[in-house]
């Protein structure tokens, strides 16, 4: 009787006098909602692709048979010049190292910034609880600006080279990792922190000795994942801006025919690097999270 009186509105309650009918009614309603959503989704996708094709320079069907033209042209030229490939491979290793270095330094700096930002923005751990919204919005802002915007503006000020890319990726990483770090830190056990406080530890000691050991495996795992993402970002930034293997790729592509063996060497190098880094980081992340 109590939930008849205080429960949800009478209209929403199924009529239990005819249970079968009520159940089928509910199923029908659910199906109808699902159907409407499906129709809307299909309509959005179809009209979206249609519009995208309309605004594209070339159509989908016209282009479809050309998809393999460029790769086959590139590969056939590289095949005739296959003797050059090992040499070209070695030529571009320094650029690859630069790209990986950009990603690594940016991840490192970004993760260090994210560590302090996330602790300052976590409820229960923050140094100044009143400032939590400020630090959260800071991280949101850092995350929202695409790397390319910062990188291109910094190239104008700082000139070329890897430093603009490092700063751009590090800023974005700080925001992205900060959010993930803070979610992990929210679930940390507060007992060690209280214990440390009872013996007179200050804030940084409480964080360093009470929180960091608890969250370190998860944080490291997220940082490794971010490193994978940053290697790709650093290659793309090289292509759009300057520095690293992306830039070499752009130069070789602009040259076009005659240097396709170089294009293949760079593609292969980039592909191998990404696969190797993904695998190594996957391995370590499993180890960190599963604890063995």
């Amino acid at each position: 009787m109590v939930d008849v009186a205080f429960g949800p509105g009478q209209g929403q309650r199924p009529d239990l006098s005819n249970r079968n009918e009520a159940y089928l009614d509910m199923v029908r309603r659910k199906r109808m909602y699902g159907g409407i959503l499906l129709v809307v989704f299909v309509a959005l996708m179809a009209s979206g692709w249609k519009l995208a094709e309309h605004r594209n320079a070339g159509g989908f069907l016209n282009g479809l048979h050309q998809v393999f033209d460029f790769p086959s042209e590139v590969l056939s030229e590289a095949w005739t010049n296959r003797a050059n490939l090992p040499g070209l491979f070695w030529d571009h290793v320094p650029a690859l190292i630069e790209t990986v270095n950009i990603a690594a330094v940016a991840t490192l700096i970004g993760a260090l910034a994210a560590m302090s930002l996330s602790l300052l923005a976590t409820r229960g751990l923050a140094r100044w609880p009143a400032l939590i919204p400020v630090f959260r919005r800071t991280m949101d802002g850092l995350r929202a600006i695409p790397e390319i915007v910062i990188a291109l503006v910094l190239i104008y000020i700082l000139g070329g080279g890897p430093v603009p890319a490092v700063i751009a990726i590090a800023l974005h990483t700080g925001g992205a990792l900060g959010k993930l770090f803070s979610e992990v830190a929210e679930n940390a056990d507060l007992k060690p922190v209280e214990g440390l406080q009872s013996v007179g530890a200050n804030w940084s000691q409480r964080m360093w000795l009470g929180v960091i050991p608890q969250v370190a495996p998860n944080w490291l795992s997220y940082a490794l994942l971010r490193f994978e993402i940053n290697v790709r970002a650093s290659a793309i930034l090289g292509f759009v801006g300057e520095g690293g293997i992306g830039h070499d790729l752009k130069l070789a592509m602009q040259w076009g025919q005659g240097r396709y063996d170089e294009v293949v060497a760079i593609f292969a190098l980039l592909f191998l690097a990404i696969v190797v880094i993904d695998h190594v980081s996957d391995h370590f992340r499993h180890k960190l999270v599963k604890g063995h």
Partner: protein, 441 residues
């Protein structure tokens, strides 16, 4: 005695472990520091200080929130033009000059404010700087000759063919061909209406009255409609094109993400151990995912734009390809972690494999699936900006073009603000949808 020889005491183990931890506590920061030093050397951080152009930074920062108006006299034809940002589409028509420029015959007086006065006349040009004096420039034999109080300060640069003066009120350049004065004013000029629009220079109250009142400026359409179309087709800021570009970017992200999810879902069953007992097929499916993911968006984008040409469809296909690899991997991991009991329950009612998948499996992985798809939708909005810069579509293209010309930094600022707003909007939209769909409220 024999005990300690075979098994070390607790105190010894703890001491040893502490010593190891203490060594690590020093070794790890030292390793990080060493790596950063190596990186600083290999990135030539020291050379950066010389390459950095802080004057560019100053121009950029002031351009972000100010606009400049060029007052230019062509020294050969003696014609004076007043143009915002020096662009044809921002040129003031002869009768409508701003009140700080006065043209009487061949004498042009420009009031830069706070006592800074520039005058162009038949003899040359003069710039009166308060607290310093008059800089007088006369062409003699085609070359500008400067008369100014000695010593010449460093904000006046004099070379053979050119004189440049930079003060906090504006900039002044005199060369053989022309004499130019730049006045900086805060705000993004002509943001609403360009000079040739009948609505230019009207206050908000006037505009509101025009929009509501019946007297039509253009008899064929209402004032409000005319106003909106003038704003939408603003030649300086191209609001209409920018809105299309933003829409294209979101479209790329949406189509790419959703298509990737639709491709990856059926394929992920092939790569999951509990649904595909055939080892080699499973291995093949996983390697396909790895390959598609490993080739990376950059390479896909380049290859695809060769085939399909520049535009949003190419970008959407590139996103779809890359992400179907990531989705395939994540979905198959989610499939491997499902609870088998539900599937068995469905099986016991005589359901076939398709029905088992639909009613036993999909409901279990829907939360993981949806939250991943929504997360990718948000992050792809950002990638679509970058991919747009490569394939030539969306706001990424406008942004890179505006940056490469190195001229209209206020447009760059405008696009940056729009991109940040767009990403934040997609962020909160995907967060809201996630909450709605997964928590089921």
């Amino acid at each position: 005695m024999t005990m300690t020889a075979t098994a070390p005491s607790l105190a010894e183990t703890v001491t040893a472990s502490f010593a190891r931890k203490r060594r690590m506590a020093f070794a790890i920061p030292a390793a990080i520091l060493a790596y950063l030093i190596y990186a600083a050397i290999s990135f030539d951080l020291a050379g950066l200080a010389q390459r950095a152009r802080f004057d560019n930074a100053a121009i950029l920062l002031s351009d972000f929130w100010m606009h400049k108006t060029h007052v230019t006299r062509d020294n050969r034809t003696d014609t004076v033009t007043v143009a915002i940002e020096g662009e044809t589409k921002g040129t003031y028509p002869p009768g409508l000059l701003p009140d700080w420029v006065r043209i009487d015959g061949d004498v042009t007086t420009i009031d830069l404010g706070r006592g800074h006065i520039v005058t162009y006349d038949g003899d040359g040009a003069r710039y009166v700087v308060p607290g310093y004096g008059t800089i007088d420039i006369r062409p003699e034999g085609g070359k500008p000759v400067v008369t100014a109080p000695e010593p010449i300060p460093d904000w006046i640069s004099i070379s053979d063919n050119k004189v440049a003066v930079t003060t906090d009120a504006g900039r002044f350049n005199y060369s053989r061909a022309k004499v130019e004065t730049f006045k900086y004013e805060p705000g993004w000029e002509l943001w609403f209406f360009t000079l040739d629009s009948p609505f230019h220079g009207k206050s908000f109250a006037e505009l509101a009255r025009l929009a509501l009142s019946g007297d039509r400026i253009d008899p064929s359409r209402s004032n409000l409609g005319y106003m909106l179309s003038e704003f939408w087709t603003n030649k300086m800021w191209r609001h209409g094109d920018v809105a299309w570009a933003i829409f294209e970017t979101i479209l790329m992200a949406f189509l790419g993400t959703m298509t990737a999810a639709l491709i990856a879902l059926p394929l992920s069953f092939l790569a999951a151990r509990n649904f595909n007992p055939l080892g080699p097929l499973r291995f093949a499916a996983r390697r396909v995912f790895d390959f598609v993911r490993g080739v990376d968006g950059l390479i896909w984008t380049i290859v695809l734009s060769r085939a399909f040409g520049p535009g949003p469809m190419t970008g959407a296909i590139a996103i779809a390809l890359t992400d179907s690899g990531s989705f395939g991997k994540m979905f198959s991991e989610a499939l491997e972690n499902i609870d088998e009991k539900q599937v068995e329950g469905i099986q016991s009612t005589g359901a076939n494999s398709l029905q088992r998948a639909r009613f036993g499996v999909i409901p279990q992985i829907t939360p993981v699936l949806l939250s991943q798809v929504l997360y990718y939708l948000e992050s792809n909005t950002r990638s679509a900006t970058v991919i747009g810069a490569i394939v030539g579509g969306g706001i990424g293209l406008l942004l890179t073009q505006a940056i490469i010309t190195q001229k209209d930094w206020e447009e760059v600022a405008y696009y940056m603000v729009l991109i940040v707003l767009m990403v934040m909007l997609m962020d909160s939209l995907s967060g809201w949808l996630r909450k709605k769909l997964i928590k089921g409220s």
